[in-house]
């Protein structure tokens, strides 16, 4: 017996060392560019497909999941949560295993077709009014297929590009894949906006919302044709020709402590914080502007798309910088900045959107009340009071209070709903764009280098499986739950009384991302080595 001293990463790789090292070579810059273009286009379309459902959730709810049917309402929540939280990690396992056994290329071709088919079909499903209970069931199943496909896609695309890249440029090349999640969300918002603007609101609500889903099949078709001519990754080809294909990638990845401890490290020291920062900068910022700041929906979509467009090049910048300064340093800097800045940023967003510091133009104040008989409940009357206020800086405020008077109920049981909408002036609009942009910048710092980081952590024969699971658990579970947990903490802090229980109730939801990101930062700082960026099993 001989004693060997080795660093942790070498230990992980040495566990899979072959007797003769497997020769691999990076692609030429021109072929690499086509590899990246083909991979990124497909991945962006998959993200588009996945986010279009979330972006159109209110309309989908009315079409397929009427709240009057409790089972349909339950299926609606399942469709929202299950695809993101439960199915994505299963997709990572299923397609990861396939990718390590059959090949990267064929696997992410499959995920592309699965995602495109499911998305197109969602746009074809007849509504609840037309086919009843089957409508929400079919949509739920298609949504689950979307989650499954997404779970397999990202790991494949990231691994495929990384395995074509040289060690000293891997951060830069894989960062193009990292832009696709934000671009996919941006594209979904853009397509919805254009579709909305091209028709009457009633037509959009009736059938126009299906167009973004139908468009998917066209995009997927083009992406499929481009990807079809791509060759298999050099690492996988080398592993295959050396006869070193894993017979059971799941067991090797998670049943072997030498590899499993790196899966845990990837989750707790990187993807957990990265996922939470991504969802805070994208979805929670959008939710906060709409629901807590009461900014008009279309304005919020404009704010988000501008911030995404401005922020996207920084994925590539930080990916490139990670080749020089190290993945760990860039990602940890992003986490530290995010954890320290979220509270001041969200307080600034809330105060920028508020009306407390503005001077009202008294003569512009209007208030109108209308009474109508409720067609759905005989004898009930609906009272709507609309208030319009304008301010000297150009900001406008609309408030609609809807009350129901029901002779069958006691007075105290009568319900009242208040819907406030703020129409921002231009300077405040740009301040909010800047504040969201800063959050997108944090996203780019942690997300830009992460594909290269994950790929470099695991050996080629089980790479697809090993990196996909921590990525999708970190993003799907820790990140995906972020808006819901934060909204819950905010509502709790606000309380049910007229005066909020906590004066800073609107930022209490941020404790979730701040704590998760801080823990992730500490674990990353202490345990991630990050000095070895080789990926070949040599």
């Amino acid at each position: 017996m001989t004693y060997v001293v080795s660093c942790l990463k070498t230990e992980n790789r040495s566990n899979y060392l072959t007797a003769n090292s497997i020769p691999m070579s990076a692609a030429t810059p021109s072929s690499l560019r086509s590899v990246i273009a083909a991979s990124s286009a497909g991945t962006m379309i998959e993200w588009y497909d996945f986010y279009i459902f979330g972006s159109l959730a209110p309309i989908i709810a009315t079409q397929f999941f009427p709240q009057t049917d409790p089972t349909a309402a339950l299926l609606s929540t399942l469709a929202t949560f299950a695809a993101g939280f439960v199915v994505r990690p299963f997709g990572a396992l299923f397609f990861g295993r396939l990718g390590d056994m059959v090949g990267r290329k064929y696997t992410f071709m499959m995920t592309l077709l699965l995602m495109g088919g499911a998305t197109f079909l969602i746009g074809c499903v007849p509504s609840y009014v037309q086919i009843g209970f089957w409508a929400p069931v079919i949509v739920l199943l298609l949504r689950l297929l979307q989650g499954l496909a997404l779970g397999g896609e990202y790991g494949g695309a990231a691994t495929y590009v990384a395995e074509h890249s040289s060690n000293d440029r891997r951060g830069f090349w894989t960062s193009w894949i990292q832009t696709t999640a934000t671009l996919g969300l941006f594209l979904s918002l853009l397509v919805i906006m254009v579709t909305k603007l091209s028709m009457e609101e009633a037509a959009f609500q009736h059938w126009g919302w299906r167009i973004p889903f139908w468009l998917s099949i066209l995009m997927i078709g083009i992406s499929y044709l481009i990807r079809r001519n791509m060759s298999e990754s050099p690492s996988f080809t080398a592993v295959k020709s050396a006869g070193k294909i894993s017979k059971n990638p799941i067991k090797e990845s998670f049943g072997n402590k030498l590899n499993f401890k790196y899966v845990l490290l990837a989750l707790l020291g990187a993807t957990m914080g990265q996922g939470v920062i991504w969802y805070t900068g994208h979805y929670y910022a959008m939710h906060f502007l709409k629901n807590d700041c009461h900014i008009h929906g279309l304005t919020v979509e404009k704010i988000m798309t501008l911030a995404f467009v401005a922020g996207t090049p920084f994925f590539v910048l930080f990916g490139w910088l990670s080749d020089r300064w190290g993945r760990k340093n860039i990602m940890l800097a992003g986490m530290a900045l995010a954890a320290c800045s979220y509270f001041p940023i969200y307080k600034a967003m809330y105060h920028t959107a508020g009306t407390g510091h503005r001077t009202e133009v008294d003569e512009k104040y209007t208030s109108t009340t209308t009474r109508t008989a409720d067609e759905t409940v005989a004898g009930d009357t609906l009272i709507a009071t609309a208030i319009h206020r304008e301010f000297t800086d150009g900001t406008a405020y609309d408030e609609i209070t809807t009350s129901r008077i029901s002779p069958a109920k006691a007075r105290s049981a009568q319900s009242s709903v208040v819907k406030a909408t703020i129409h921002l002036n231009l300077p405040d609009f740009w301040i909010l764009v800047a504040l969201v942009f800063i959050q997108v910048l944090f996203v780019t710092m942690v997300y830009g280098p992460i594909a290269a980081f994950l790929v470099e952590l695991f050996p080629a024969r089980i790479r697809y499986t090993s990196m996909s699971l921590p990525y999708h658990v970190g993003n799907g579970v820790f990140g995906g739950l972020m808006p819901a947990v934060a909204a819950y903490l905010t509502v709790n802090a606000k309380g049910s009384g007229d005066v909020p229980a906590n004066p800073d109730w609107f930022v209490q939801g941020l404790w979730y991302p701040v704590i998760i990101v801080s823990v992730c930062f500490l674990i990353g700082l202490l345990y991630i080595d990050g000095s070895d960026n080789r990926i070949d099993d040599e």
């Binding site: 017996m1 004693y3 660093c7 942790l8 949560f81 401890k261 820790f478």
Partner: protein, 86 residues
């Protein structure tokens, strides 16, 4: 540094236990209660927190803490490799 890495294992284990307690008592249980009272959205959310998020956080942090305490993440460590693998 290795001593800090090992001792921090106690912190991760303690954090895992506290996170599990907090997650169940402050998020999962109230949501399940509200869900069982008829709110479908809360029921699903409560089930996800109780059956997925909490076991995941607790399991990951406890295992990670245990590995840290065992010195699995130390910078350099002595491996015993069979002679024939050289």
């Amino acid at each position: 540094m290795n001593t800090i890495k090992k001792l921090a294992g106690i912190l991760w284990i303690a954090l895992g236990l506290y996170a599990g307690y907090f997650s169940l008592t402050s998020l999962g249980y109230p949501k399940l209660q509200s869900g069982l009272a008829g709110n479908a959205s809360d029921l699903v959310f409560g089930l996800i927190v109780t059956l997925i998020l909490t076991p995941l956080i607790v399991g990951a942090l406890l295992t990670f803490g245990y590995y840290c305490l065992s010195g699995e993440y130390n910078d350099t460590r002595v491996l015993v490799q069979p002679e024939e693998s050289k």
